[in-house]
Point group: C2
Chain length 219, copies 2
């Protein structure tokens, strides 16, 4: 499958590498056509992928993984180009974290809006699915690092896109479909993005980002 | 132990009843000395407790459980009286939920502030511990309703108060101390209060408030 990775940070590297290992065709996009982090990544996978601009990636990909940081996402997607996103599934992995006032970060938008909603509003032709944003990237690509059943959340306005993303997350990364909870439409991004306020504190408390939550039903 | 319950809603009833069953001396406070919900509750426990105003309750209690709804909490605590709260542990159970725009609710404050912090600022003499606010009241008083290990979070500026509250939650309700995660100072209320944005959506999705999350460490 031809997959666009937007963003050359830790998350983009992790997902892109795993997808190359799975035999997919990857184009990692960044602001410039030959960014150093993208070149470094390309070398790390033995050149078995491509790099380019955000627009190159969005043109190439049948599906788009937005792995940019929250603060850069909108700019990156504008550079990717609305026309290149139209009709395609856009999995948004990032969170609108604001580190400008230090750690722990706050959110640049929350409570009555979310990055997921903002993205869907700005790119109505894209099939935005917010997913993977509640776990560290090493857990995203290897859920078996956390023992037992634990959960991932997704949301979006396009039911068929969510069904496809659930299958992709299972095939690409090994998430059990039964452990992927569809919260509903894209407004539910508020729930998963605001969870970061707790996640980031648990990260500090546990001293490791390698954890997840399990939703346990009671009686 | 002499325990003040502030609030006559579902949460106050649940906690107060369990504490009466445990042999504690309870005074349930509300805006008026003989509110109907408080009288109804008093009858339900066979009269083995007392009811009164918020100030009556705060005067009576060695420890205060703030079970008011978030929108009413500050007013209730002001009526309870700063002098009556001074030096006492105040467990704040509620969340700053705003249902004025419908369901799901938003938060009246979040991201750069929280109800826990607001309460500690307004009542610097009280030993505020934010706790229990991430589970439904039936789970608060009976964690065994959810199978296996699952977690509760607390935070506050007073380490001794948090140690005491951990012991109380164990003795009163059966929470395993190892499953109570101390997140740090009261600013961490932002984390547990903002989790409500996810909790409320999970409630809708699961069709029941009887669940909790387990934090599962990975590698």
């Amino acid at each position: 499958m031809k997959i666009a990775i937007l963003g050359t940070g830790m998350v983009g590297h992790a997902l892109a590498t795993k997808l190359v290992q799975r035999g997919h065709h990857i184009l990692m996009g960044s602001r410039t056509a030959n960014s150093e982090p993208a070149q470094t990544w390309l070398q790390s996978v033995g050149g078995k992928a491509a790099i380019g601009t955000f627009a190159d990636a969005a043109t190439f990909g049948e599906i788009i993984l937005d792995c940019t940081s929250g603060a850069n996402s909108l700019t990156a997607l504008r550079q990717a180009g609305a026309a290149n996103l139209r009709g395609k599934i856009l999995i948004q992995v990032g969170n609108p974290l604001d580190f400008s006032q230090g750690v722990p970060p706050t959110l640049t938008l929350c409570n009555t809006d979310s990055q997921g909603e903002q993205t869907q509003r700005e790119f109505p032709g894209a099939r935005v699915v917010k997913a993977l944003n509640t776990v560290n990237c090493e857990i995203m690509i290897a859920p078996e690092r956390v023992p037992g059943d634990h959960h991932l959340f997704l949301c979006g306005n396009d039911p068929a896109a969510k069904t496809d993303v659930t299958r992709y997350l299972s095939e690409w990364f090994g998430w059990k479909p039964a452990n992927i909870i569809d919260l509903g439409d894209i407004t539910n991004s508020r729930g998963t993005e605001m969870f970061l306020a707790l996640w980031i504190r648990l990260y500090g408390k546990l001293g490791s980002p390698h954890f997840n939550i399990s939703v346990v039903r009671g009686k």
